[in-house]
Point group: C2
Chain length 241, copies 2
DNA sequence: GCAAAAGTGTTGAATCTACACCCATGC
DNA sequence: GCATGGGTGTAGATTCAACACTTTTGC
């Protein structure tokens, strides 16, 4: 907003701002990963009193001279060691009583990462673990809501943007991609229809290699071609799975 | 977040919070209305120095004991006199330099209202005017971005939720509804296909009245049946236009 | 040789798009 | 009686969902 956009009776900017409240602003990250056929969430077990033993998302306060999304990236880096992670703002949680005893709002962000990329030691040193959505324990504060809402956004977005690829290694097989979408939407997909659909988008490049980890026969590896995707977008196309 | 979710080396909650920064938190409202076949935006012309004459969205600071969405509702009420307005959180704007000279983040909300419902005198007393999207003047700060993003969200949401009805009077005609969607998506729709589609959703109730304001022949009035819509939702349906 | 996953095509149903004319009424 | 917007149906193209068998290979 601008000073006096709602009320115009103030005399100077300085007075106008000074007469209002300041709040703690935090950011919390809902970090999704994909491994072993399952969509997982990186959560953190507090290991000091008080509240030792309660699981929560990873977060931090936003500093006075720091962009909010910069704060979220800082958190991600601190926890995973990675700088280039796909991240989107999810939603802001602003209930006055959401953090008992303090007035603190939180701007939640969700992130998508390849589980194998990150620095496991660093993660573990923070007491963080990957949990599947099914096994997720109760989380602190309104973090439960944050996870629900972020999953909701992820599902919606995955329908019209190829963000699924952020969760897979650079080279992946079609069955892997299918398992990923199955675990995002929590329902089974038909392998024939799925393959047909993703290939019809023409944003995958078939490689001359096979991945044999999933079967004896092995499955061809593909990679995502973001240039072709850009072309698609510019010609008005809409990615849908 | 919770204290020590990112770093665990602090001694007590009090110290932990106190060692961090507090920021101004504002909310800005992107208020959409529909009138005269056009989607419009309620914007505000500052009439006092400094910056007199610059258009901006309506906003306010969030008070220390107030929910963020409560603050947005307060703004809406102050400006329009209305309490029951459809409102959604849009996005949080948190660049450190977005408001030069102050550290202030803003949680934008968009609202949908029936233009004729509101208190015109109250609105005018705040220096607010309705502008079509095409005629929109340059706005202060990052308000331009806020409008773009909110319109984006509105378009997406209008595809799977019947929020269009929030912008129309209780009783409306199919041609009116079509004009609304045309002005949201800024493209023309085929009247036969449009009618077919909205009626196939079976959430409209045809009334025995006609509206003759648009033509000599008159068009039948309909109303939105939110009970039928609930049933649809519960049976797993997805509203799409 | 068999278990286990990869890969492949077709058909009917549903949905989408494009398109042109008559209707009712106020003037 | 004519101008104006309201209302209606169809055909072809596209997309979607459902469905079963063959291939490859490590063991």
């Amino acid at each position: 907003m601008t000073p006096s956009s709602a009320s115009t009776a103030h005399t100077s900017n300085t007075d106008f701002y000074a007469s209002h409240d300041k709040l703690y602003v935090a950011t919390d990250c809902i970090i999704f990963g994909f491994d072993d056929g399952d969509l997982k969430l990186l959560i953190f077990k507090r290991r000091v009193e008080p509240d030792s033993g309660i699981w929560s998302l990873i977060g931090s306060f936003v500093k006075i001279d720091e962009d909010v999304d910069e704060a979220a990236r800082r958190v991600l880096k601190e926890i995973t060691g990675l700088e280039e992670i796909y991240m989107e703002q999810s939603k802001t949680y602003g209930k006055a009583e959401r953090d008992p005893g303090h007035r603190c709002i939180s701007v939640a962000h969700y992130a998508l990462m390849r589980i194998n990329d990150h620095d496991r030691e660093l993660t573990q040193s923070h007491g963080a673990f990957w949990y599947t959505l099914q096994e997720l324990p109760r989380l602190a504060l309104d973090h439960q809501d944050m996870v629900r809402d972020a999953l909701d956004k992820l599902r919606r977005r995955a329908r019209y943007q190829p963000i699924g690829f952020e969760l897979l290694p650079e080279k992946f097989t079609i069955p892997q991609l299918q398992k990923l979408y199955e675990s995002i939407y929590q329902r089974e997909l038909d392998p024939r229809n799925f393959r047909k659909k993703v290939l019809s988008l023409k944003v995958l490049v078939k490689l001359d290699e096979k991945d044999k980890s999933g079967s004896k026969r092995g499955a061809y590896l593909y990679r995502f071609d973001s240039e072709k995707y850009q072309e698609l977008l510019e010609s008005g196309y809409n990615f849908e799975i």
